[in-house]
């Protein structure tokens, strides 16, 4: 363990934010991953990566939230909690600050997920085919 650059420990915290952003992570958890006290950790993290750990985690969550708004039909609340944000109100405010619009406006400004889903033709054929009323009446009619 000798001669490990201090940044290696900070990277552990960054990796944790990237990997487990959807859990109720707090700066204290990230600090623990780096083995530093929270106050010391925040300063070191910002010096190394250019933004505070809180901001890093928040933007990681917002990036995922924007992807979910584009790629799913989940409600804004479902998206908010899926990315680990704890409060719908502050999530919406943060989203607006970063993207310049509300989550719903962001979704509306992008093509509906259903329109760009690449659902294979075989799936459409299999699941879109209506069921005929005579389906399996051979078995239903025969005695058990």
């Amino acid at each position: 363990m000798a001669n490990v650059p201090a940044a290696r420990h900070l990277l552990r915290a960054k990796d944790l934010a990237d990997a487990r952003y959807f859990e109720p992570l707090a700066v204290a958890d990230l600090a623990a991953a780096a083995g530093l006290s929270p106050a010391h950790f925040s300063r070191q993290f910002k010096a190394a990566f250019g933004e505070s750990p809180h901001q890093y985690l928040l933007t990681r969550r917002l990036e995922r939230a924007s992807a979910l708004l584009r790629a799913t039909d989940w409600s804004v609340a479902a998206v908010c909690f899926a990315v680990g944000a704890q409060s719908l109100g502050s999530f919406t405010v943060s989203f607006h600050r970063v993207f310049g619009m509300t989550p719903l406006a962001y979704r509306a400004a992008n093509p509906p997920a259903e329109s760009h889903l690449r659902i294979p033709r075989c799936v459409a054929l299999a699941y879109g085919r209506p069921q005929n009323r005579t389906f399996r009446e051979d078995k239903a009619a025969s005695p058990a």
Binding site: A71, A113, R118
Partner: protein, 143 residues
């Protein structure tokens, strides 16, 4: 050139599968959209940062794709482990093993040396097999 677009598992319950792949494995949702007119939900997940093939989690189909008896048979076969295997590769198998073990993933075997590398495996909630391999230079003496 041909490449693999998506692969697919049959699952017993899409919500249960979604929770497993996202909350336990930490994967991302690539798409989740309900097609109301078909009573169908396209659900696709993949490891974060991987723009390669996604894993489509499809419910065991009922009529008219399969009649009730066949649908039940398919669900049972998947539960028996006959559904198939997804082969994952990583550059740090021990880290993934430790992380996922801590998250409650029950591995079927510990990291094991093979001629082709190190590997281990686990199942999703429906019984689908997932093999995780760290590929190393081929060495017949290692396995």
């Amino acid at each position: 050139m041909i490449k693999i677009g998506n692969a697919q598992f049959w699952v017993h319950d899409q919500d249960e599968a979604l929770a497993f792949y996202t909350k336990k494995l930490g994967w991302e949702v690539k798409a989740d959209v309900k097609m109301e007119s078909w009573a169908f939900r396209w659900l696709c997940v993949g490891p974060p940062g991987d723009d390669g093939p996604g894993l489509v989690l499809m419910p065991v189909p009922g009529p008219p794709m399969l009649d009730g008896a066949d649908s039940a048979k398919l669900a049972e076969l998947v539960a028996k482990g006959a559904g198939g295997t997804l082969f994952l590769e990583t550059d740090d198998l021990q880290a993934a093993y430790d992380d996922w073990s801590a998250r409650g993933v029950a591995f079927n075997d510990p990291p094991t040396k093979q001629a082709y590398g190190i590997d281990t495996s686990f199942r999703d909630p429906s019984g689908n097999n997932i093999r995780l391999t760290q590929v190393l230079d081929f060495d017949p003496g290692r396995g």
